[in-house]
């Protein structure tokens, strides 16, 4: 849906988007990294309809994704890191064992 301005100086890193390795600039946030590839990042809990990042400032919570196994993370508020695993959330989040103990 979006692209980097041509000529922007960039170092690329590898992240995993739904288990697929992709190269993205190292200085962008997770929401932006998603928008380079896709206009949506989750399916809603209520009706299962697709949604994408909407406000890019942490207010709308529409960019909830799974980051490194932790669900309901606001993609627009976290920077990408090499090796990061980002998963689209389909339906309600699971509570991982790490969070409950």
């Amino acid at each position: 849906m979006f692209k980097r301005i041509t000529g922007t100086e960039t170092t690329l890193i590898e992240i995993f988007l739904n288990d697929v390795p992709v190269m993205v600039p190292d200085d962008i946030n997770v929401g932006a990294a998603i928008l380079l590839r896709s206009s949506y990042c989750r399916k809603t809990v209520v009706s299962g309809s697709p949604r994408g990042p909407f406000c890019m400032m942490g207010a709308c919570f529409d960019c909830f994704v799974e980051i490194n196994g932790k669900m309901n993370q606001q993609a627009c508020l976290q920077q990408v890191e090499a090796g990061m695993r980002i998963g689209f959330q389909v339906g309600p989040a699971n509570l991982s064992a790490e969070e409950t103990c």
Partner: protein, 461 residues
């Protein structure tokens, strides 16, 4: 718990100004901000953006933010970026998340400079992927150097649409059109504020020059548009609307709506401060005295997080609150206070007067305020305007009762994107004034926090 004489929340123009003025007199200041670098949304990423992006694309107003950011970064302030405040109580205890841990600090004085968010703009299809607030698209340009991959359509009202269209032109991207929902009656309504606007005319001239740039580029401007509809299956494919007596359809994969900004009041509410409904801005504002102090003693609200007046006034408001804190803590004497505050008050009055024109001309249209029954207004719980009208007909007194009856506002955004619409719909159905209808109560945590983060919270220093 660690104690600070002053905690400032937000590193936008108001927060930076408040903290910088306090630091001038060696007051120990903690500034918490949820972004990675200072500047707020208006100057987001200004210290890191490339020189080309700053000067060639985003323009002078953005570039000027760099001076303030540099000054702020040079000041002796305990600046804590990437810190998300998730609770504040009426005793000014502040809870925030940083690096996966939660901390609690106590503030003798608290300045809330949380800025604004975009005013929700509900129309059928605004939940489809490919529809994104225009402000969000501008944030992507400022902070991520990113442009829409295909020609977008801009829709709504307000100066940001013109600014964004011009910035895209500077970057070599045309927008397919600007669908202007400003009702034609607003031009007449705003004329009487025009002389006031001329007392601080910079925004007016800026607007005219943007308009000229857009016209010269041959970008279609659909004035007085209404009945917007974004359609597509899993992604927007078309925006249609009424304009000049006929239905227009534009095929597009990106629609960027916008109708101004409103104060972010979550933390103001949690801090126990009273709000006042501001009819001319069609939004709630934080109730404050001359120096920005709210209804709770020693809690201040400055900048667009108090009421929308723009970045220039936010700096003034931030400084005034900072100076008042310094005076109360006897870091400055009364004569220094008065000497420094006097020119600020003068400048403030001038800008406020000029603001009336922008408020009047860009007051949102009735249609977008109280949308058609089939429009989804609560994006989180997927509740339509029709469902809210039905609940309001039952006699629900305000947004909190509507929430209990229909889940509207109960999702993760906690009503940030439906509150104004819900209140407007109740007011419409029950023929009441929106100021009586009220607003959502806010409950902590206002940002997601895990049990693990809560369990590992650092409370003792």
């Amino acid at each position: 718990m660690e104690r600070y004489p002053l905690v400032v929340i937000g590193a936008g123009p108001a927060g930076m100004a408040a903290a910088s003025v306090a630091a001038e007199y060696d007051l120990e200041v903690l500034l918490l901000d949820d972004q990675a670098s200072p500047g707020g949304q208006i100057y987001r990423n200004v210290s890191r953006a490339s020189a080309d992006l700053r000067s060639e694309i985003l323009g002078r107003e953005y570039y000027e933010g760099l001076t303030q950011v540099d000054e702020f970064l040079r000041s002796k302030i305990n600046y804590s970026p990437a810190s998300t405040v998730w609770d504040i109580d009426t005793e000014r205890h502040v809870c925030y998340l940083r690096n996966n841990r939660s901390y609690q600090v106590s503030a003798e004085h608290l300045i809330l400079a949380c800025g604004s968010q975009e005013r929700p703009m509900p129309f059928p299809g605004w939940d489809l992927p490919g529809v994104m607030m225009a402000g969000a698209a501008q944030i992507l340009l400022k902070s991520q150097a990113m442009l829409p991959a295909s020609e977008p359509v801009l829709a709504g009202s307000g100066p940001l649409l013109l600014l964004l269209a011009a910035q895209y032109l500077n970057a070599g991207l045309r927008v397919q059109g600007i669908v202007d929902t400003t009702p034609k009656s607003r031009y007449l309504e705003s004329i009487r504020y025009l002389p006031g606007a001329m007392t601080a005319p910079r925004p007016l001239f800026k607007g005219l020059s943007l308009l000229k740039q857009i016209r010269n580029a041959g970008i279609p401007l659909y004035r007085g548009a209404s009945n917007l509809l974004a359609s597509g299956d899993s992604q927007v494919r078309q925006l249609s609307f009424h304009c000049a007596g006929k239905r227009h359809r534009i095929d597009t994969q990106i629609v960027l709506p916008h109708q101004g900004v409103v104060p972010q009041l979550q933390l103001v509410k949690l801090a126990g401060c009273e709000l006042t409904y501001l009819h001319r801005q069609q939004s709630w504002s934080a109730t404050v005295d001359k120096y920005g102090e709210g209804s709770v003693e020693n809690t201040y609200i400055a900048g667009d997080g108090q009421q929308i007046n723009g970045a220039e006034l936010a700096v003034i408001a931030g400084k005034m609150s900072g100076l008042q804190v310094l005076r109360k803590l006897e870091k400055i004497d009364l004569s220094t206070f008065e000497r420094r505050v006097k020119p600020l008050i003068k400048a403030k009055n001038k800008i406020e007067k000029a603001r009336r024109f922008i408020d009047a001309i860009f007051r949102p249209s009735e249609e977008l305020n109280t949308p058609s029954d089939d429009t989804m207004i609560c994006r989180c719980e997927e509740i339509t305007a029709g469902a809210v009208r039905e609940i309001a007909k039952l006699g629900c007194q305000g947004p909190n009762q509507v929430k209990a009856f229909g889940r509207c506002g109960m999702g993760p955004c906690q009503g940030r994107f439906c509150e104004s619409t819900v209140a407007a719909l109740i007011a419409e159905v029950q023929d009441r004034c929106i100021s009586e209808v009220g607003y959502y109560r806010v409950r902590p945590p206002i940002k997601p926090i895990t049990l693990g983060q809560l369990g590992n919270a650092v409370i003792e220093s």
